[in-house]
């Protein structure tokens, strides 16, 4: 059995952090939103990362399946991408006028994702917000159709009216439907057609605490048709899945075409950039909107983005993600079967989601994942995972050994559940 990791230095740094930073580490990288359960099983800070591995403040090594929650798509500290970024840094980054490389990147990106234009910002939330504003400017309508279980960032309009800091008025124009439910969508459109500006959704449901759900046969084509017939702008939030399922975008992956599509995480392998891409018919509506930010035209991320997309194309990346995702998840399924553990694997292999379903409280799942982390496989409890280009079959096999070991321990600790199965 592998020795279990401890986190003395991590905890010391967290103590310092908690004094000067709200929550110590806030948001999805932190212990609360990141569902680090129990927190004692997790590191909080890294000191270095390379490829698919990272080392925490105590020097513990992890094979990382969270990939910075998505941005790490070609491998941490990829020499080719970092070199392109460094070269750009030497000749200018955040300048009074944008560098010509912005246009180079826009041309490459629009050609890759088969859209007519690209608008650049920094975070996913910047471009989901812009997509909504663009749809409203174009249609002159105000309501937004969301899919239940959605996540489109942290702006007030994306949250629930009882979230701290959010006003009920912020959510007044929200309509909620279930994924894969065309009849419900038809009903909503029929009832409120004159008020609906847009339908926004991720290409498949990669939410938390439940199995991830792929689109039913014909679902997206039917949504596309309904949106077109009723003057509703179809927005795909491809921030998490973009460049992992299909380099042309996840709308292409599922055989339809979005009017607007949002990209961020995997676009530049961790260099900070996001993009809203769209069709010509809506470009002038966006042009009428005043929308900008201090660093949105910085040149270094454009250089990194060009190098990253070219590398992904050259490497047939999405097929590789699928192959390694299946190698890992097929292996995990076999391990679970051998121990009579009801492990559910859902979603796309490149972004697999795991859930042990032997108790309603999810405590068994949380115990298993904590065991994996303390043995060096960085998985998270209730979020999908990510495969990146630097992951190797050898690292996957090492991960399977760790997961097997941790699951064996979990099963042994719970004879009340597993002895009779």
């Amino acid at each position: 059995m592998n020795e279990l990791y401890t986190y003395k230095k991590n905890q010391e740094v967290m103590k310092r952090a908690s004094k000067v930073i709200p929550c110590g580490v806030y948001g999805h990288l932190g212990p609360a939103e990141g569902c680090m359960i129990p927190t004692s099983a997790y590191p909080f800070f890294v000191t270095k990362a390379k490829g698919s591995e990272m080392w925490d403040a105590d020097g513990n090594r992890f094979i990382d399946y969270m990939c910075g929650y998505g941005p790490n798509v070609s491998g941490y500290c990829d020499p080719e991408i970092d070199e392109a970024a460094r070269k750009q840094m030497d000749i200018g980054n955040c300048t009074t006028l944008p560098n010509t490389i912005m246009v180079d990147f826009a041309e490459l990106l629009t050609d890759t994702v088969k859209k007519d234009w690209a608008f650049f910002a920094k975070n996913g939330g910047d471009v989901t917000q812009l997509a909504i504003m663009t749809a409203r400017a174009y249609t002159g309508k105000k309501k937004i159709i969301f899919v239940n279980g959605y996540y489109h960032g942290v702006a007030p309009w994306t949250q629930k009216p009882d979230s701290p800091g959010v006003l009920p008025e912020d959510c007044r124009n929200s309509i909620y439907v279930d994924f894969n439910n065309i009849e419900q969508l038809k009903q909503v459109i029929n009832d409120q057609k004159e008020k609906i500006a847009c339908f926004i959704a991720t290409p498949y449901m990669h939410g938390n605490f439940r199995d991830n759900v792929l689109p039913a046969e014909g679902y997206w084509n039917e949504v596309r048709k309904l949106c077109t017939e009723n003057g509703i702008v179809l927005i795909i939030d491809d921030i998490r899945a973009g460049f992992r399922l299909n380099l042309q975008g996840s709308d292409a992956h599922y055989g339809f075409e979005a009017d607007l599509i949002c990209f961020c995480k995997a676009i530049a392998n961790g260099y900070n950039i996001s993009a809203l891409c769209g069709k010509d018919f809506i470009k002038s509506a966006l042009s009428s909107i005043m929308y900008t930010g201090s660093y949105w035209m910085s040149a270094v991320p454009f250089a990194a983005g060009i190098a990253n997309i070219n590398k992904l194309k050259r490497s047939d990346a999405c097929n590789y993600f699928k192959t390694l995702g299946l190698r890992l998840t097929d292996g995990l399924k076999k391990i679970a079967e051998s121990k009579n553990v009801n492990l559910s694997v859902s979603g796309e292999p490149a972004m697999f989601y795991l859930l042990i379903k032997d108790d309603k409280s999810l405590l068994l799942h949380q115990e298993w994942i904590a065991g994996c982390v303390r043995r060096g496989a960085f998985l998270t409890n209730h979020h999908n995972h990510f495969i990146n280009l630097s992951l190797t079959p050898e690292l996957v096999d090492e991960t399977l050994e760790i997961c097997d070991d941790a699951m064996q321990d979990m099963v042994k600790n719970h004879p009340e559940v597993y002895s009779n199965k």
Binding site: S18, G24, G30, C35, P38, D162, F209, K360, H382
Partner: protein
């Protein structure tokens, strides 16, 4: 605006009955002096609040229990106290008004009509311990004060999740099941979501789906008094959350509202 005020007043009335008065259940269980005060009292009081909590407070065999009054199901009360509105009931709790006794006038006067009546003495003592960590005579009771404040908070959570304008959103959204709220090895309460409603049991959960566990009385005290926040406690390991986290997400949204009603 008036609707918001009405909702807040109504919520306050439910919190006052089930949390402020309801915590008497634990006070007489945990404190020897309080136990003696009610040892020989067998009495049930129906707080009949128009458009508010129809609550039954029962004193029986040295125990106290605050439950909903269910006509035909609940034991017949010896005292029936009428309040014309939730605001009127809140004034009664704040000792600014008296309810109208519709039944048991003399027992009412004896039990709660004067500052030295049993009910008044009990609630004054409990309030002092919860708010100041001291008895009215100045004796230190910090530990008991935190325990009582913890139970009061748990009872308030359920009422706010059922009645408060924003709290209801989280309460309605919450999945069915039990949440165990604990001060490790010291105190435990259970929030139960079933049949579209939240309820609170001031005892350990039997079959919890989710857990919120404070590592010490000190942590619980600071969190109840808003000196620290739950998210920071998670990072420092002072608070453990585990199990079906979406239930705790909703609970936390209600928890954020609790201080407004327990001032």
């Amino acid at each position: 605006m008036s609707q918001k005020v009405t909702n807040a007043i109504k919520t306050q009335a439910f919190v006052n009955f089930y949390a402020a008065i309801g915590t008497l259940e634990k006070f007489v269980e945990l404190d020897e002096w309080a136990k003696q005060q009610v040892a020989n009292i067998n009495l049930s009081i129906w707080f009949n609040v128009s458009d508010g909590p129809d609550g039954l407070l029962t004193f029986e065999d040295g125990r106290v229990n605050a439950t909903e009054y269910l006509p035909g199901v609940s034991k017949k009360p010896k005292i029936r106290l009428y309040c014309k509105s939730p605001a009127n009931f809140n004034d009664v709790i704040a000792k600014k008004a008296m309810p109208i006794p519709l039944k048991g006038l003399f027992q009412t006067l004896k039990f709660m009509g004067k500052p030295d009546s049993t009910f008044s003495v009990l609630t004054d003592e409990m309030e002092s311990i919860m708010r100041n960590g001291k008895r009215l005579d100045g004796t230190d009771e910090a530990e008991l004060g935190t325990k009582l404040a913890f139970y009061c908070m748990a009872a308030a959570l359920a009422q706010i999740g059922n009645h408060e304008r924003l709290g209801k959103l989280a309460g309605e959204r919450m999945h069915d099941g039990e949440i165990s709220i604990e001060i490790k090895d010291v105190a435990a309460a259970t929030i139960i979501k079933a049949d579209g409603k939240l309820s609170c049991k001031l005892a350990k959960a039997e079959n919890p789906r989710a857990f919120m566990i404070f590592d010490s009385l000190d942590t619980a005290s600071k969190l109840i008094n808003s000196e620290i926040d739950a998210m920071s406690c998670l990072a420092s390991g002072q608070l453990t959350m585990k199990g079906f986290i979406p239930m705790l997400d909703d609970l936390n949204k209600i928890l954020n509202i609790v201080p407004k009603y327990l001032r």
